[in-house]
């Protein structure tokens, strides 16, 4: 079956996936693996380096899909570990749940648009007071503060068709790799060996995990840790080797601060 991945602008990985599955009405399993990957890569490329968080979401979804598809191409369930199989089911169910949630709110959004369109046909009376009453009106600005005025200004000027540079993609990264390198250099020597999973267990966002990963790679580059991964997608072991380096090297670490 010939398949072309058209790439309009997608609002994130779920949007793209919903599009691939529902609007194109294809069975993902009949789409060549390369086409799925291409679609995701095209999306990520379009985003450029700007939004790491979204790019990561895309990658997670794409990776799950590719893994699901690979698994399906394998001969049979007998030769895979039960745990892995269960983990895969879990990933797939999670993906399905999120897709359903995404679709739910998309349809709810359309319903809100219909309500707004219906309500928009009926215009409110806002003529206000007749002149004689205006004279006895108390202070009209009572309770209005500078921030209300600002909000009103933004409301009044909001629907601007003129193109603007949206700064919002540039989510400022609050942690720098250099900082994490420093932190790891103080934690790892006493721990000796630690799995990457444990190392990142307490981190609040995916971005923190990524920064931590970059920091580990940086330490590896400096020859201060050894990395060991027994199986693909398996535990990543980080072992402190402690080759001493001066503080000057830390300063040379690239900063990824937005």
């Amino acid at each position: 079956m010939p398949y072309e991945v058209s790439t309009p602008v997608y609002e994130g990985p779920f949007d793209l996936l919903l599009h691939l599955i529902t609007r194109e009405e294809v069975d993902l399993w009949e789409v060549p693996l390369a086409a799925i990957v291409d679609a995701y890569l095209a999306e990520i490329e379009r985003m450029g380096v700007l939004d790491l968080e979204v790019a990561t979401e895309f990658l997670v979804v794409a990776a799950t899909l590719v893994e699901l598809k690979c698994r399906r191409l394998l001969p049979g369930p007998d030769d895979v570990e039960l745990d892995e199989e269960l983990a895969l089911f879990e990933a797939r169910d999670l993906l399905l749940a999120r897709l359903l949630e995404c679709k739910t709110f998309r349809d709810a959004g359309s319903a809100l648009a219909r309500l707004a369109a219906a309500a928009g046909a009926s215009h409110p009376r806002t003529a206000g007071l007749e002149a004689p009453f205006l004279e006895i009106t108390p202070d009209l600005l009572a309770g209005v503060g500078p921030l209300d005025l600002r909000a009103a200004y933004l409301r009044a000027t909001a629907p601007r068709p003129a193109p603007r540079v949206e700064l919002d993609h540039v989510a400022p990264v609050r942690i720098s790799v250099a900082e994490v390198v420093e932190e790891l250099a103080s934690v790892l020597p006493s721990a000796g060996r630690m799995s990457f999973r444990r190392l990142t267990a307490g981190l609040p966002t995916r971005l923190d995990v990524i920064v931590c990963f970059l920091a580990v790679l940086e330490l590896y580059k400096q020859g201060r840790v050894e990395l060991d991964q027994a199986v693909t997608f398996g535990e990543l072991d980080v072992r402190w080797t402690g080759a001493p380096t001066g503080a000057g090297d830390l300063a040379a670490v690239d900063t990824y601060d937005g």
Partner: protein
């Protein structure tokens, strides 16, 4: 002969610039709020029976006069340009998440949509549809957002309880099956 309270409701609503809550009308007229609701229902029915070009509606918790939706073509010829720009699909989807999940943080909205929600949330806030309503008591004290009175007005709703139940939008069996097939959950 219309009674004075009924006529006073009409007079006040004629000079009001926003929906007037029943309890305020009740105070001004020295009758019970329940009586106000009765009067307004009677008035609304009378306008409809008389085939008037305006309606009396309850929106965002209060009563107000509006032009009859039938006559939108004439009214729009008159208020040309007063229409606000329509919301984009992503903005609507985000608005729906805020409406049904409020109070909700930007991070929670982003988690549901799978994309950064900052730009869209700011647009919605600029347009006055959503606003900051609280702070998350937990660590980080994230700002929590909710829909505004203007949101209710724009959608012609009296209260959030009048939103269509979210259950109406949970994908039906066919969609779920299509997605399952797409993800290879269902066996062929």
């Amino acid at each position: 002969m219309a009674d004075e309270a009924t006529r006073a409701v009409e007079a006040i609503l004629m000079v009001a610039e926003e929906p007037i809550e029943p309890h305020l009308l009740a105070e001004l007229l020295e009758v019970s709020p329940a009586r106000v609701e009765e009067l307004c229902a009677t008035l609304a029915a009378a306008y409809e029976a008389d085939d008037r070009g305006f309606v009396l509606v309850k929106v965002a918790g209060g009563y107000r006069f509006q032009s009859h939706p039938d006559l939108a073509p004439y009214v729009e010829r008159f208020v040309l340009g007063g229409q606000s720009a329509r919301l984009s699909a992503p903005a609507l989807e985000t608005l729906a998440i805020v409406a049904y999940r409020q109070p909700v943080s930007r991070a929670q909205v982003a988690a549901i949509r799978g994309v950064n929600a900052d730009a869209v949330m700011r647009t919605l806030q600029q347009r006055g549809y959503v606003d900051e309503v609280a702070r998350d008591p937990g660590p980080g004290q994230a700002i929590l957002y909710g829909t505004t009175r203007l949101f209710l007005e724009k959608l012609g709703l009296n209260s959030l309880a009048d939103l269509p139940p979210v259950a109406d939008f949970v994908p039906g069996r066919e969609t779920v099956e299509a997605l399952e097939r797409g993800l290879g959950v269902a066996e062929e």
